[in-house]
């Protein structure tokens, strides 16, 4: 919950003075918000080329005409990010565990995991999509599919697994070693301690940053349009070019917001809750 002052809501304080101050600050917030947006709106609308911009970007008729078309193309984006998210959740954890294997024997394993995470986080997603979707797919190796959706899913999975593995790893490292020691002292093996004690706690702790990465992933599904996959962005793009009007992009932006806003709010709520717990000294 966000109070008008922009700070996390304070617990209700029962002194009358504070109450009245609270009421007044809400009033001030409402008035200043109205004034702020009215001024901005007035500046925009009264600018000389506003009618032109309105026609090109904010055409209500075009908006409603193309919303269903783009919406049905968005199903491809949804399918893409749902499949990718499941894969990323599993593979990310796998990579994180590989990276946390102790001892010199596992050095090469750790090295490969580190190199993977560094490369796929360091190269722009679009380049990876190009390299895999055109490069590898273009090799024409028998048995390897040529389908753009397949390569889109592979590219996004590889990119986001790299991010998510880092998130998991931070989570695993944040669990105090005494937890693993307590598990080992019962006779659990290292793997069992990880499986039953460390990972369950780590996963709980990293849910907010994981959701953050998922928001990024959902938005990045538009990048795979460059592979020729006709998803929502590509559809909006085609329509824009045929009618010389940018409003279809606005329609797609709205669709994205409908999907990502709840997730964004949920993430912020979880982060704020964790912070409160931390401040309260609770575990």
């Amino acid at each position: 919950m966000i109070s008008p002052s922009g700070l996390p809501a304070q617990p209700a304080v029962s002194t009358g003075r504070r109450r009245r101050d609270g009421g007044r600050s809400i009033l001030i917030a409402v008035v200043s918000t109205l004034v702020f947006f009215s001024v901005i709106g007035w500046v925009i609308v009264s600018s000389p080329s506003w009618p032109l911009v309105q026609h090109d970007f904010f055409d209500a008729e075009v908006f409603w005409r193309y919303l269903p078309v783009i919406g049905s193309a968005f199903v491809t984006n949804i399918a893409l990010f749902l499949i990718t998210e499941v894969l990323v959740l599993i593979l990310g954890l796998f990579i994180a565990v590989l990276r946390s294997l102790p001892g010199p024997v596992f050095f090469p394993v750790r090295l490969v995991a580190i190199a993977y995470a560094d490369i796929f986080r360091g190269v722009p997603s679009l380049l990876i999509i190009y390299v895999l979707g055109f490069g590898i797919a273009g090799l024409g190796i028998p048995g390897v599919p040529n389908d753009p959706f397949f390569w889109a899913a592979v590219s996004l999975t590889l990119v986001y697994t790299a991010y998510v593995s880092e998130v998991y790893r931070a989570g695993i490292e944040s669990i105090h070693p005494s937890q693993a020691a307590a598990a080992r002292s019962l006779g659990l093996t290292q793997a069992q301690a990880l499986r039953y004690v460390v990972i369950p706690q780590a996963v709980r702790r990293v849910i907010p940053p994981l959701l953050n990465d998922f928001i990024g992933l959902q938005k990045d599904t538009v990048l795979v349009s460059y592979l020729g996959l006709v998803e929502a962005f590509r559809t909006a793009n085609i329509e824009q070019q045929s009618i010389f009007n940018y409003t279809p992009y606005l329609a797609l932006s709205v669709i994205f917001l409908v999907i990502t806003l709840p997730l964004t709010r949920l993430t912020d709520y979880l982060v704020a809750r964790d912070r409160r717990r931390f401040l309260a000294g609770a575990r």
Binding site: S178, A182, S185, L186, G187, V197, Q201, A282, R283
Partner: protein, 249 residues
Amino acid sequence: MTAEVVRIEGLHKSFDKLEVLRGIDLAVREHEVVCLIGASGSGKSTLLRCINLLEAIDAGRILIDRTDITLPGVDANKIRRRIGIVFQAFNLFPHMSVLDNVTLGPRRVLRLPRDRAEDDATELLARFGLADKRTEYPDRLSGGQQQRVAIVRALAMHPDLMLLDEITSALDPELVAEVLSVVRELAAGGMTMIIATHEMGFARDIANRVCFLDAGRILEDGPPSRIFSAPTEPRTRQFLDRVIAAGRM
């Protein structure tokens, strides 16, 4: 004469350049309760952690039931399941209910079926006054209750030996008694225990033997009646004087 449960010979342990244990010799017989006393940093915790192989040792031998557990190739997991350890900070698993905390070892290590492990755990919890806390999560328990759960969790593995590391020092004074009474009950039941403690009164009551640790060595070892009333080493006397001055005895 009862059998020896633990024998430690010439145990050395360093952390980097800091030599924490400098030649420990100690033998503990079945049903014996040995209390380790000594200043903070004298190596009590480290010694306990070495005994159940949570720390690798640098030199010396540790025998459990006459088997050298420090030899290469010994399965440390097999050894640990027979030695229960309870930590100062409880170290309960916060994401598990009390029952799951207690049954984790029996189910995953001893491979008991769930219902058997849970029956066993329920019985143990009831014995220590925790029957109504089975489904509770650790953060909803008092410190004393948490520590009792930690003791039950170790007992659920039916260990031959219990290591208790200052298990009351993180507790509010009014909660200390409930935990110590659990330990008394274990001693009365014949449990072999090595107990690191700052509670001198408790050590005097419960211990068959008290070992005074000083800078990584056992400086003095004897029955509590002698150690507490007529220590032979000046350093032991100094330590006890300081403890008395601090009002902890």
